[in-house]
């Protein structure tokens, strides 16, 4: 039988990179995403009408399930949008996982979580096997933290294993243009110095979307159990990241000698100054992160080509071992 994996949130930023990764390995992807998104399985996971057993019957048995579906909401943590998103993030994956168990027997699950399940007080570098404690004070990390906890409890009940992959800040072709890296890159490509708020010393960790797709797919194919970080080579100060954006633009024939400028008058956004241990990801999944400069060049190419979501994959070579 052809190997197939169910992927929720298949039409999103990470979903597109995951589709490319599956395609390169000759594995079938059953994409589930909201109606009108172009997914094979048009379903709204937050709808009261969502029928997980019907989904499991419709697809038949699968090698595994990878749950990506989520929105990054920026508004209130308690409004109607946050509640809808919480159902997609923390209720749907459990219902889907249980429905596949019921219909087809033990089915492996990979849950795409977030570094925002870690609050600001965590011990550094963060060990992924220690359950996150207090999330970033916002609904996104809070909902993913709830999902992880409910999945751990359900796993005991089902007698089944699952993998949690917690990406750091995800960047790469196809990402939302309001985020720091595309803002820096666009400035550099336009010949302007990127502006870094504050003193630029807050550390951040960036993972390339195709690297994350690699981790998710390998965790599914190997039926890995446990919690893993999908991170970059190492954490960097935001100033260092902005400097690398200047070098990436240079590589594409942009202006030479650009340097970031600090805007000390504007406080940096809420930031979690954290570093992440990725040694278990390297061991269990043979993961080798793409050098940040290389990933930034891919994203710069995509931006200079017009930054269309549908062209993102063309600028992102598929990661393989």
């Amino acid at each position: 039988m052809e190997q197939r994996i169910l992927v929720t949130g298949s039409q999103g930023f990470v979903g597109k990179h995951l589709r490319a990764a599956l395609s390169a390995r000759g594995i079938g992807m059953l994409g589930a995403d909201v109606p009108g998104s172009g997914a094979e399985l048009p379903v709204d996971l937050a709808s009261p009408e969502f029928d997980a057993p019907a989904l499991a019957r419709a697809t038949g048995p699968v090698h595994g399930v990878i749950h990506l579906a989520a929105r990054i909401t920026r508004g209130s943590s308690v409004d109607a949008q946050a509640r809808t998103n919480l159902v997609t993030i923390a209720d749907a994956p459990l219902r889907i996982w249980e429905a596949y168990h019921e219909a087809h027997g033990a089915t492996h699950l990979v849950y795409c979580s977030t570094f925002k399940t870690y609050g600001p007080a965590s011990v550094q570098p963060i060990d992924p096997e220690k359950p996150p404690q207090r999330p970033d004070p916002h609904s996104y990390g809070s909902a993913k933290a709830l999902a992880e906890r409910l999945l751990r409890i359900a796993a005991t009940r089902l007698g089944s294993g699952f993998a949690v992959v917690r990406p750091t800040c995800i960047y790469g072709p196809g990402q939302h243009l309001h985020n720091a890296i595309p803002v820096f890159l666009r400035a550099c490509l336009d010949g302007k110095s990127p502006t870094v708020f504050g003193n630029g010393q807050a550390r951040r960790d960036d993972v390339l979307a195709s690297d994350l797709a690699y981790c998710l797919l390998e965790a599914s194919l190997r039926r890995t159990v446990g919690a893993f970080h999908a991170g970059g080579e190492r954490g960097r100060s935001i100033l260092e990241v902005a400097e690398l954006c200047c070098r990436a633009a240079e590589r594409l024939g942009g202006p030479t000698g650009l340097k970031p400028v600090l805007d000390a008058g504007r406080p940096p956004k809420w930031w979690l100054d954290q570093s992440f241990d990725i040694s278990s990801t390297k061991r269990a999944l043979d993961y080798v992160p793409t050098p940040l400069l290389e990933g930034l060049v891919q994203e710069a190419e995509w931006i200079s080509a017009g930054a269309q979501p549908e062209t993102s994959i063309a600028h992102a070579p598929v990661r393989s071992r």
């Binding site: 308690v78 109607a80 919480l86 159902v87 209720d91 459990l94 916002h138 906890r149 409890i153 009940r157």
Partner: protein
């Protein structure tokens, strides 16, 4: 200045009735519950006049607007509404759905009502009833601190912890004072759930010896419902914000609870013992933070509270 108006969700529950009564001694109370009934006063108490009932189902979207209309910058919002499955261990998908709808989404709706309330801030403070189950099984043998590892092993504990997470997100976004109280098993007149202490009292009220599984050495915290209500009143009046363990502060083994049940019933001898293969662990919280920052001091000694609960139990019609 301490708030003089109170809105209490879950007001007709075991804890709700005592909280409404305590707060009604301090100011006007809106007592919100799914039934919309006026809460009965706690056992042995007389109804206070300044309590107004409100029908509110936090599992329904309509609760946001209904609750918002009752709030304002002088209101202390006390959110007790939640669902507790008959047994918290080993719950399945059906129970989880109800826990999510009530304990998580219900809490978000209550907080949204506070956020959208016309005042600035929308409410004076929010006090939230959390649970010791957020901790799961403690790592060490020291009294559990608020900063200890959170690793809930029940869906109930996970959903209550999510309520805390969202409460803190709300506090951060709205710059509003919030207090979460991590409560242990609550006992006292009106307690009807199937757990150790009420089970033991039911046995002795029938003239039977209570039955314990295993050695009975496991520690489990307790709080009398009147002390739980006192803790809420302290949280409302305090200036502190954050998360606090609340219990009677004593170490109670399961065996000591069974012996206390026999003592208050005037029975001699020993509890019945059954073999048990359930994992054994001690659970005991430190309440130092609540003592220091909320000014909380438990007043009801275990045997006094159990004697009161037995008296109440004996007045109930036989089930």
């Amino acid at each position: 200045m301490s708030p003089r108006r109170f809105v209490v969700t879950g007001a007709t529950g075991h804890m709700g009735r005592s909280v409404v009564h305590a707060l009604a001694g301090l100011g006007d109370v809106v007592a919100a519950s799914r039934s919309g009934a006026l809460p009965e006063p706690p056992y042995g108490e007389t109804r206070r006049g300044n309590v107004r009932p409100l029908a509110l189902d936090v599992a329904s979207e309509t609760s946001v607007a209904a609750l918002k209309a009752e709030l304002g910058p002088d209101v202390a919002l006390v959110h007790l509404a939640g669902w507790h499955p008959p047994r918290t261990a080993g719950t399945g998908p059906a129970e989880r759905a109800q826990l999510l709808a009530t304990n998580v989404l219900g809490t978000l709706r209550v907080l949204e009502a506070a956020r959208r309330s016309a005042g600035a801030p929308g409410v004076a403070c929010v006090v939230y009833a959390s649970t010791f189950e957020v901790y799961g099984i403690p790592e060490g043998s020291e009294p559990v601190l608020e900063t200890d590892r959170l690793n809930p092993v029940t869906d109930y504990g996970a959903t209550k912890l999510s309520g805390e997470d969202h409460l803190l997100a709300y506090a951060y976004e709205e710059q509003t004072r919030v207090v979460a109280l991590r409560l242990p098993a609550i006992y006292g007149p009106g307690e009807i759930t199937a757990r150790a202490l009420p089970n033991f009292l039911r046995s002795v009220s029938r003239g039977e010896r209570p039955t314990i599984s295993g050695t009975g050495a496991d520690l489990r915290d307790q709080i009398h419902v009147r002390d739980a209500a006192t803790a809420v009143a302290c949280a409302v009046a305090a200036e502190a914000s954050g998360i606090f363990n609340v219990a009677d502060g004593e170490r109670h083994s399961i065996l000591s609870l069974a012996e206390a049940a026999m003592q208050v019933a005037g029975m001699s001898g020993e509890p019945e013992r059954l073999p048990s293969d359930r994992p054994s662990y001690a659970f005991h919280m430190s309440i130092e933070q609540a003592r220091q920052k909320l000014g909380f001091a438990p007043r009801v000694a275990l045997v006094d509270g159990m004697r009161e609960q037995l008296a109440w139990l004996r007045q109930q019609p036989p089930s």
